[in-house]
């Protein structure tokens, strides 16, 4: 199959859906001629014009309001917040308005938008340009949260998200933008709410999100050489979560390592741990649940410090190896 980068997969989804559905448009800072801070929307303004690829002032809350109001009145906007860190400026509209409108209005309205948020560290951009805030949005009833880890998933999930009738926070992984993988040319969707077993194994389950999926797979590869067979589960959609698949996997392996980049405390790992500890998988657990996550600190500028602030392959290997002890 043809290969695309994660970034190109996202762009292709936007492009195909804009061709198919005149209600879809893109709005955000520098999404036009600049092509977006990371180049995701490059070329789109040439095809669709400034009416549908809309550059905005530096007004994140305004962007959130614009997509909310447009979605409420018949459009299907795709907004972009240049860095997920700046959703902090837009979050009133996302949380108090977009997420709640349908419920508050007694089910008489829909707010079908997607908000794309490049997230994560690893680019040397320091504390205000590196955050992973997905669990904030997971915590908000009325929002859906998607976090693709491969080019294939990115395209399929974005198409599904745009077609979904709810506001969807689409968390893109900056570090994955250039990674490549097979992506069908045709239109396809990856349904929201379906997790994916990225690698099957029997000794231990790793549930990893976003950029950590690739690291977990690399770790699994190494561990396989030691005879430890790791199953890597990627939720893909954080909300609604495919709890069933995770519970099944953990029930099978009896051990679970949860890996995410976001700061440990108060993060999505807690939700995953709780879902497992509450479920029938609890009875199959042979060892405590282990979370491996970003340290509880802002992302530092210094390269070495930054590297050691979030889980790396070697940390996953070590944690998984320790957890698998006694098993193999």
């Amino acid at each position: 199959m043809r290969e695309l980068s994660y970034l190109e997969a996202i762009r292709e989804a936007l492009q195909q859906e804009m061709r198919r559905d005149p209600r879809v448009f893109v709005i955000g800072e520098d999404v036009g001629v600049y092509g977006g801070a990371f180049g995701v929307t490059r070329g789109l303004v040439e095809e669709f014009g400034e009416q549908r690829i809309i550059d905005t002032p530096i007004s994140e809350l305004g962007i959130a309001g614009a997509i909310t109001g447009a979605a409420l009145t018949g459009m299907r906007p795709v907004g972009e917040i240049m860095f997920m860190d700046f959703t902090t400026l837009a979050i009133e509209q996302l949380v108090n308005q977009a997420a709640k409108i349908r419920f508050m209005f007694g089910g008489t309205a829909t707010v079908p938008f997607v908000l794309r948020c490049p997230a994560g560290s690893g680019t040397g951009a320091a504390a205000q340009h590196s955050q992973s805030l997905e669990n904030w949005f997971v915590h908000v009833p009325g929002l859906k949260v998607v976090m693709p880890s491969t080019p294939y998933d990115a395209k399929g999930l974005l198409l599904a998200a745009i077609r979904d009738d709810n506001p969807v926070i689409f968390v893109e992984q900056k570090l994955l933008y250039k990674t490549r993988g097979p992506v069908p040319e045709e239109d396809y969707t990856v349904p929201l709410g379906k997790a994916d077993i990225k690698r099957a194994g029997r000794d231990l389950t790793i549930v990893a999100t976003g950029v950590m999926v690739a690291r977990a797979l690399e770790a699994a590869e190494q561990l396989a050489r030691e005879g430890i067979e790791v199953e890597v589960v990627d939720p893909r959609t954080l909300k609604p979560l495919d709890a069933e698949l995770i519970i099944q996997s953990v029930s099978k392996t009896g051990r679970v390592l949860i890996v995410h980049e976001a700061a440990r405390t108060g993060g999505y790992g807690g939700e995953l741990a709780a879902i497992i500890a509450e479920s029938e998988a609890f009875d199959y657990l042979d060892a405590p649940i282990v979370r491996l996550a970003g340290r509880d600190m802002p992302i530092p500028y210094n390269r070495t410090l930054e590297y050691h602030t979030v889980p790396q392959v070697e940390n996953i290997v070590e944690a998984a190896r320790q957890l698998a002890q006694g098993r193999v």
Binding site: F25, R52, S59, G65, A66, G69, A70, T73, I101, M104
Partner: protein
């Protein structure tokens, strides 16, 4: 832009409906039949009615926490409104929203808002979507003096201006944001002076004069519909009641309130109608009484309506 006598009579009727609705709501609250909180616009009726009168039926409005007047002016069904206040299944929001969240999307009312300035950025999106779809519709966005000092106001007015969106921003300056007087909250005399900073027209009118409001908003609506972009209209008015149900009015004097009651926008419009279309006193009282009667009917409807079904509690979170 001139209103027919029938239309003028109807605007009087709307003002009385608002007054009657809110007096009744206040009353029901005291009786414990309505709970939570509510923000009454008694004394501000001309602002709501005069502004919405400038719209076509299929235009949109975005309203505020003090939104009963806007809602009624936009043609809300009083039964469903009252049912919503009582948290009934037949209410506009199936009892989920209450006073601060009444919306009538089909009728072009995109919702009251519990967040000050919460609707202003949404107006940008509504305007954008009208422009993109070429509907010719206008979006009228209400907010208070307090809202004009919030960041969202700024971002939204600028975006609407640079994209020449069909939006009319109507600031209902009732001179207080809760207890905080506009005289302290602004270092400028007129909020409409801010329009210049966005490159849009700004106008301040006597918000208790329905005709003045109607004229100013009509100009703004025409401009918006003609594709010339947004405007800011400031209606200077006053709320007679406390900010919400928990206000002890410690921040203003009884004299001030009384002085503003003298400027009752309904009485004023009646006096004007007496001249302009020779509305007789009995006619005026008939309008008033009909309004109070309509509200009683709405209460009866709401009273007779069922509570939401507990089994359906989680309905409507997602589409």
């Amino acid at each position: 832009m001139t209103l027919t006598p029938e239309r003028q009579r109807d605007l009087l009727r709307q003002m009385w409906l608002i007054r009657a609705f809110e007096e009744k709501a206040e009353n029901l609250y005291a009786q414990g039949k309505i709970h939570g909180t509510m923000h009454l616009s008694i004394g501000m009726e001309a602002s709501a009615v005069g502004a919405v009168a400038a719209l076509q039926p299929d235009d949109y409005i975005l309203s505020t926490h003090r939104g009963h007047g806007h809602c009624i002016a936009k043609g809300a069904d009083l039964d469903r409104m009252m049912a919503e206040f009582m948290g009934k299944e037949t209410g506009y929001c199936r009892g989920r929203g209450g006073s601060m969240h009444i919306a009538d999307v089909a009728g072009g009312n995109l919702g009251a808002n519990g967040v000050v300035a919460g609707g202003i950025p949404i107006a940008v999106g509504v305007g954008l979507s009208q422009k993109m779809q070429g509907t010719g519709r206008v979006c009228l966005c209400f907010f208070g003096d307090g809202a004009a000092n919030s960041g969202p106001f700024h971002e939204a007015l600028n975006m609407a201006a640079i994209w020449t969106l069909p939006v009319v921003f109507v600031c209902e300056n009732n001179q207080y944001a809760m207890s905080y007087p506009a005289s302290k909250a602004f270092a400028i005399p007129r909020i409409s002076d801010r329009a210049a900073g966005y490159g849009m027209p700004g106008e301040t009118v006597d918000g208790n004069d329905l005709n003045a409001v109607y004229a100013a908003v009509s100009r703004a609506v025409e401009r918006a519909r003609a594709g010339e972009g947004p405007s800011l209209v400031e209606n200077v008015t006053y709320r007679w009641r406390g900010h919400s149900k928990s206000d002890a009015n410690r921040y203003r004097s009884r004299e001030e309130i009384e002085a503003w009651k003298e400027k009752d926008p309904i009485a004023r419009f009646e006096r004007w109608l007496a001249q302009a279309i020779s509305l007789s006193e009995p006619d005026a009282r008939a309008v008033e009484q009909a309004a109070y009667a309509a509200i009683e009917a709405a209460v009866a409807f709401a009273d007779a309506s069922p509570e939401p079904d507990l089994a359906a509690i989680e309905e409507g979170v997602y589409a």
